[in-house]
Subunit: 345 residues, 2 copies
Amino acid sequence: MQDSGNSILQCIHMDDYSANPKYLQVADSIKQAVLDGHLKINDTIPSINELSFELAVSRDTIEKSYRKLKSDGVLGSVPGKGFFIKSIDIEKQLKIFLLFNKLSEHKKIIYDAFAGILGDKASIDFYIYNNDFSIFKKLLARHVGAYSHYVIIPHFIEGHEHAYQLIDSLPKEKLLLLDKLPPEVTGEYAAVYENFEKNIYEAMEQALPQLSKYHSIKLIFPQHTYYPEEIIQGLKRFCHQYAFNFTVIHELGDSEIEKGSVYISVMERDLVILIEKILEQRLQVGKEVGVISYNEIPLKKIILNGITTVSTNFQWMGQQAAHLILTNSRTRVEVPFHLTLRDSL
Amino acid sequence: MQDSGNSILQCIHMDDYSANPKYLQVADSIKQAVLDGHLKINDTIPSINELSFELAVSRDTIEKSYRKLKSDGVLGSVPGKGFFIKSIDIEKQLKIFLLFNKLSEHKKIIYDAFAGILGDKASIDFYIYNNDFSIFKKLLARHVGAYSHYVIIPHFIEGHEHAYQLIDSLPKEKLLLLDKLPPEVTGEYAAVYENFEKNIYEAMEQALPQLSKYHSIKLIFPQHTYYPEEIIQGLKRFCHQYAFNFTVIHELGDSEIEKGSVYISVMERDLVILIEKILEQRLQVGKEVGVISYNEIPLKKIILNGITTVSTNFQWMGQQAAHLILTNSRTRVEVPFHLTLRDSL
DNA sequence: TCTAATTTGTGCGTATGTATG
DNA sequence: GCATACATACGCACAAATTAG
């Protein structure tokens, strides 16, 4: 250990009996020294060992201080060398790690709304993990620590547990979960989430007058996928409550469309197949069979005189997430869900 | 110590404050020099002593670099003589900087096809600049140098010239342009591009039998946008050649839909407005008015007995881009374009 | 053949950041 | 707050191989 003759030592004021913890006192002192111009960019600061010796505090305390300053973007470090002043722009700049499971028309809406509000106030780096836990893990490992916020849409085909465990290890004040709120992730963190179970239940209740024409509800729900199971639960509960027959269809395949049934599709691919089959069998949509499609897009207004949709307000979701970040809030908010009744029901 | 007059010194870039350790920086620099062809097989490289002196780093740091390269099979050594390039067969790790102008359903297809083929072979970082040159510039500045490939979709609302200049400054062997091939970007680089002018011209020629029912062609083309002007040129040329009236409509607004016209929309928003107007005016689609829509998606098959579409094969585009990268090719390939005739024409 | 200089290769010690109990 | 283990970086010393003179 060499004496660096650091005048910075004189800038650090400690109070054993202060309310705020020592590591924050150290961090704030260094921030102040930067603001006062005593430390310039690329200046090196005392090593953890040296400073902990000089101030007669634990090594961990200094390490914690430096770690915080680093996560705030003030300090940088090189193993084997030391810490240095990385940025004198103390006003925290928002660096956002945005991690989506997949791209889609709706993800685009979320992104546009999110980026539209944050605009120049933040720099957003965007990643996609394709519902694949191993990619998710790799991306997170590669970028952990470098961002002020981690905004994640957590949908996985498999390996949920490990994924949620990983998310749980992120600092909660930097975390914002989008779309889904997994109970496995604990603590107080921000979230803008869908209540899939409740949403579909209440939407169906709203559609009860139209549903009275039918006796069965069939959900087209692909197997081995990242779509949330809560949708099935919600529908099951609704059908039990209001005495509808309920079936889950994994694959439309060669099956016939049955009169007196309402078909609910979560994927657009299935919607197209479904409608082709209905047209083929010359069934009357909105009378003999009902069609409900997840996710509203303008085009659905003009298909077969209009397809009834149930949909989250994705724009609101993106905007709300941006607001939570700007206000540094850790609230959890539920996204509004809308039923758009059209002639297909 | 003798001066080997090594130009290799100029290939080694060091950053004292970089996150990755020095010995890896040195190793990566040498690997890159081999990949770039600056070092051939059996070339000797500076001795440990010499390089450590030149780079002003510890001898052990260089020794560690060389040891790693040797264990990677890149270098060989003879005690008392020196190190030399043993193999130029370096399993290059692909780091891809993917920069899209916007998100959309079709960008998703491109991305999925691209990532699907590269899969585990590459790590892909994804960025969006919202057709905004200033964001584009910032993103590129922040990430230049760190990637093995820069895959860019260049569409800008304004400031094309500066943008193309910026792209032109990227190393051509690392560049792959997607969708558009701007003449301002010179040199030999890879590209998977659309020939917008030719594509629409030839698609219209294919549709000539159906078009004979109409006398006018109207293109709904938003103003101040990133859509390529070449579409207008191609249609203009076609209409001139085959004696159609040609109009560009920037905004549907309150205008009436005219009988005997074919409407071509590039944006989906306009398609919805157009069809609503047509239904309102009780015009017969495919007889009194024709509708052609850019970009095929399955849903268009079931709108009004089918909407005729003209569309690039976005999946092919993504796959081809991935192949060009894997084969390290600098070819420019034109993406196939398809006319899908349906009842709307 | 001898010698001196250079180079690879190895071992030891110290200081530093990072991560984990 | 303490202890421990690990990777990085720097510096010094020394043996063995090679080369030049």
